[in-house]
């Protein structure tokens, strides 16, 4: 069975006719009768065992898709065969169709307790036996097909996830910028599903300046993640505009607007930070408003703007601020302010500002992001409903740098 093919009714029927069915009965007549019955129905891959020992040996050598099992046999009974098969991980879900002459309610209970999948009574009603055989084989093939498909998807997603993580800045680049610029960089990225629609990145612009962007594609999951690859690839075409946030966003938008599907877009914030002077030049495309956090005040940066990928006529504006020594620039994705906390209310921008101030006052300034996220994850009721990005540049004071 091919894991990549979906099962139609037709190829499912073909597949089960090739299924390996083991008939276990101590009476040759019964084996013959059941075998003929199966052959007449079109089953081609039959094997036979005379008793329990024989059955277990055959199953060990060549795993069947279904066992039709007699209960009363010499040496090893059908009950014992059931129990032995259920005790082994290899055969714990193998369908076992038990046939027996005695018909008491207690016996049926015992049969199922021993691990049988289903029960037919003797004398065997042939159409009933065939209907049950067909049903159990169909179930088995469909489940196998599903779990093959599931495993296949899981592997594909893991690979794609690794590729997406490779889009994020490497630790070596982070360390280099930390050293060159005298900053501590904290960054957290988590997709709500294997793949996500968030991305952040940074690059040196000139000897004194670093560019930093955060991007959030609308929606999440596979579709959104494909768009992060698209945006990442397109950004590389505008390296010559890295120093000019508004022009960079405009070019990115012009380039992407045709290829973005209707209803999908990316909110973005891009800033160029000069670590000699502390000058910050930035432009927004509808990303949540970043904070510049000092000891006793928080400034909100105006990141409003048309998200990337909606309309061709969108324009962007460069704004400026200052990141003084000792201050932190904090960018985050909307999930941080839009996820309901245990009380039922979402944090909102005001709530996040309060939380940031509280952690700034009571914790280490350079572990702000990790402290905020600790609170966030303790408070949210559900698993992460959307992708999360939180990035902070902590500009270290001169004396801390020397220390």
């Amino acid at each position: 069975m091919d894991s990549g093919n979906s099962l139609t009714k037709d190829n499912l029927h073909k597949a089960i006719l090739g299924a390996n069915i083991l008939v276990v009965d101590d009476m040759q007549l019964m084996r013959k009768m059941i075998g003929m019955c199966l052959e007449r129905a079109g089953y081609t891959n039959l094997s036979y065992a005379e008793d329990g020992d024989d059955a277990l040996r055959i199953i060990e050598e060549d795993m069947p898709d279904l066992v039709i099992l007699d209960l009363n046999m010499p040496r090893m009974s059908g009950y014992e065969v059931c129990k032995a098969l259920r005790a082994s991980p290899k055969t714990e879900s193998l369908p076992i169709l038990v046939q027996s002459a005695s018909e008491t309610a207690e016996e049926r209970v015992e049969v199922f307790a021993a691990g049988a999948t289903d029960f037919v009574s003797k004398p065997i009603n042939q159409p009933e036996l065939m209907a049950r055989v067909q049903m159990h084989l169909e179930n088995r093939f469909m489940i196998r097909n599903l779990s093959d498909f599931h495993g296949h998807m899981q592997r594909e997603l893991s690979m794609a996830k690794e590729m997406q993580h490779a889009l994020l800045p490497e630790q070596s680049l982070i360390s280099k910028i930390e050293q060159d610029a005298g900053v501590v960089i904290e960054a957290e990225y988590q997709a709500s599903f294997e793949l996500g629609g968030d991305l952040w990145g940074m690059w040196p612009v000139d000897e004194q300046s670093t560019g930093l962007f955060v991007l959030d594609i609308s929606g999440h999951g596979v579709g959104a993640s494909l768009n992060t690859f698209r945006v990442q690839a397109t950004m590389g075409r505008y390296k010559h505009l890295y120093h000019d946030p508004a022009a960079f966003l405009k070019s990115l938008n012009d380039d992407l607007v045709e290829s973005f599907p209707l209803g999908q877009f990316g909110t973005m914030f891009y800033a160029v930070i000069n670590f000699e002077t502390g000058d910050v030049t930035y432009a927004g495309a509808g990303a949540p408003r970043p904070f510049i956090i000092g000891d006793d005040n928080i400034r909100t940066l105006d990141s409003s703007g048309t998200p990337i990928g909606i309309i061709a006529s969108a324009t962007y504006e460069n704004l400026t601020d200052q990141l003084h020594k000792g201050e932190s620039l904090f960018c985050y994705s909307d999930v941080l302010v839009e996820t309901p906390f245990s009380g039922g209310d979402m944090l909102g921008e005001d709530g996040l500002r309060d939380l940031v101030m509280e952690h700034r006052k009571n914790g280490e300034a350079s572990s702000l992001v990790s402290n905020i996220l600790t609170t966030f994850f303790a408070e949210i009721q559900t698993s992460l409903p959307d992708d999360l990005t939180a990035v902070a540049f902590h500009r270290i004071k001169a004396k801390e740098l020397e220390a």
Binding site: S218, G219, L262, F265, G286, D334
Partner: protein, 101 residues
């Protein structure tokens, strides 16, 4: 998210309640089909009972806007407050989709 459509002599008013987020994609598309079926000239989305809209929700407004432009009806937003109002402002969607006066 739930919605109720009122038809006031060819002018539609869609009252939304609850959050408009990623998970409401199908409901929203059904709503658009209902709206399209009524061939009105104007359709107002009343957002006064909506507490929050996420980026996927904003994307759905854009789809509605596109559908309106293509089919020749006018889409207007009304009553946005709190988080919804700030999202429309932040993303400048209020420049793209008209507000009902």
């Amino acid at each position: 998210m739930e919605y109720r459509i009122e038809n006031n002599a060819g002018e539609l008013l869609v009252n939304f309640t609850g959050d408009i987020t990623f998970t409401q994609n199908m409901t929203f598309r059904n709503m658009l089909k209902d709206v399209a079926g009524q061939s009105a000239k104007v359709c107002v989305f009343d957002l006064s009972n909506v507490e929050m809209v996420d980026s996927a929700g904003l994307g759905m407004f854009l789809i509605a806007k596109e559908q309106a432009d293509t089919a020749g009806w006018k889409l207007q937003l009304a009553g946005a407050k709190g988080h919804v109002a700030s999202m429309l402002k932040l993303t400048k969607l209020s420049d793209i989709i008209e507000s009902a006066s």
